[in-house]
Amino acid sequence: MATPASSRHVDAAERGRRDRRTTRVAVYLFMTLLAVVFLYPVVLMVLTAFKPTPEIFRNPFGLPESWSLDTFRTVWTRAKFGLYLRNSLLITGGSAVLLLLTAAPAAYALARYSFRLRGVLFLFFLAGIMIPIRLGILPLYLLMRDLGLLDTPFSLILTYAASGMPMSVFLLSVFFRNLPRELEDAARIDGCNEVQIFWRIMLPLVRPGLAAVVIVNVVPWWNDFFFPLLFIQSDTWKTIPLGMQIFFGQHLVNWSLVFSGMVLASLPLLIIYLLMSRQFIAGLTAGAVKG
């Protein structure tokens, strides 16, 4: 008597399991397909970079016949890649240092002291959070020209630090606000003045915030093409994106050189990303979600 009911029950459970397995396979299939769409062009870029131009045209998809680094060497010397790399490092690094040195104390003051102008100043900093600095490019260009900063790294460093200010002040003030008051009071009793309290006690405690600020900003700075295009004319201070854009334009028919150049240009961030993708993603998420 009980048999039909219980077997029907087993059937339903079995069907449910099978359905779930089908969904699982479908999801995996879809995610793999999407991964191919995102990854394959990058893989193809790396493989192609090792091939001489005729081989690219003859055999676009296979592995390269030899893994020679010759074209990379050509790009490195002929495109002055080493120089651009140094410039990009100096400019991105300089911007990060300037931004941290200016935004952290400001965020600290706005987060932990009450004074009459606090609300107004906080709003002033916050007002820029949604406005891209590019829209002020003409006055900025003339300002840089009048200050004699065009064609120097300082034009880019100052622009980048200024454009990162709203988000960084906001993000760091959140971090500073969460520190306990007792720390500050204890240091004050020990005879520290306000600047010492900030520098020696509070700043080291918001290191995750500082890291998030750097990570959020470094990728767009490193990859920026717009401001170097307008501010930098001579080769001396070209960054990787600008230098490469010009190099690619000149060698558009030599695919081998262009692909090697693309790989070289992408390598620094790719390496950092592959080595520390977890910190990278955590920092970006902190910036995006808190912002």
């Binding site: 990058v42 676009p60 003051a109 200024a162 990859n223 693309m262």
Partner: protein, 309 residues
């Protein structure tokens, strides 16, 4: 005097803390953005400012050919750019984030894969796809021919009917990792009890998404949408790299930013006229107003729908 000195002794540290940021931010961000507003109401001779011009620059952009045609063309391209990107990231991107949140085996790899193109410079993204999409030698054309689908090969970037959409899709390839990342973080921030409660009440996975996950994701979706809007209304690099400063073919991919760039700094591709700061500033001010209004509106919406767990 004594009063002032005591005030200073009690407040000097605030000046030490705030002055550097105020100088950098004030001089190199606030000042340029604010004075770009005034640039648009003057007549300019190269980089030299002449007399007050009222709204003449705006009238030029909106009514005089070819500015008016370029302006509305670029504007419509920017709108399409944003709408298509928005559609992709709030369907595909959201779906992928909800899947990734299940944390099945291998999903960490998928997440890293989807995000990887975001780390590439747009210069590299542009040139890479320029090569891949080349109708003669590009990998896509060769692949299609190898599969016997050679008829499908088209000069995707060279014809008016497909150029803009191709650029938008290339941009989405390099961008989608970011919305996925933010949505994933937002999905993971939803407490598990909410989903359990829904399941106890007999909700199917789809109902769980519609009635639990989606409403709680609305603030993140709004925020990413605003960021995307701002970014898309400033898009410049990809078109400049792939299609040139005038958005070839025949302005089919021209955007507000490339139009602004040509007007401000002259157009090297056509050897055209020298830069016109006043007219360019008028374009810039209109971009600023659009972005300002939309982001202010969006920020208010985000704040109102903010959830605390």
């Amino acid at each position: 005097m004594l009063h002032a000195r005591r005030w200073w002794r009690r407040h000097w540290h605030l000046f030490v803390f705030l002055t550097p940021a105020l100088v950098v931010y004030g001089a190199f961000m606030a000042y340029p953005l604010l004075s770009s507003l005034t640039y648009s109401v003057y007549e300019w001779d190269g980089f030299i400012r002449r007399g007050f011009n009222g709204l003449a620059n705006f009238v030029t952009v909106l009514t005089r050919w070819p500015y008016n045609e370029r302006f509305w063309g670029a504007m419509s391209h920017n709108v399409i750019f944003f709408l298509v990107t928005f559609a992709i990231q709030t369907t595909l991107g959201l779906f992928v984030a909800v899947q990734l949140a299940k944390k099945w085996r291998g999903f960490a790899f998928f997440q890293a894969a989807y995000f990887l193109p975001y780390t590439l410079s747009l210069v590299v993204v542009g040139f890479l796809w320029l090569m891949l999409l080349n109708p003669t030698w590009g990998a896509i054309a060769q692949g299609l021919r190898g599969l016997g689908l050679g008829d499908l090969v088209q000069p995707w970037l060279g014809q008016r009917s497909t150029a803009l959409m191709t650029v938008i899709l290339v941009n989405a390839w390099g961008w989608l990792g970011f919305p996925i990342l933010v949505y994933l973080a937002a999905v993971q921030a939803i407490p598990a009890e909410f989903h359990e409660a829904a399941r106890v009440d007999g909700a199917s996975p789809l109902q769980d998404f519609v009635y639990v996950t989606f409403p709680l994701l609305l603030p993140s979706i709004a925020m990413v949408t605003i960021l995307t809007f701002i970014w898309d209304f400033n898009a410049f690099e990809l078109v400049f790299v792939m299609q040139g400063a005038s958005g070839s073919p025949n302005y089919a991919t021209d955007l507000l930013a490339t139009f602004f760039y040509r007007t401000a700094f002259g157009d090297p591709t056509t050897g055209g006229e020298p830069g016109q700061i006043g007219v360019a500033s008028a374009i810039g001010v209109m971009m600023l107003v659009i972005i300002g209004v939309v982001s202010a509106f969006g920020v208010r919406f985000t704040q109102r729908s903010q959830t605390e767990y």
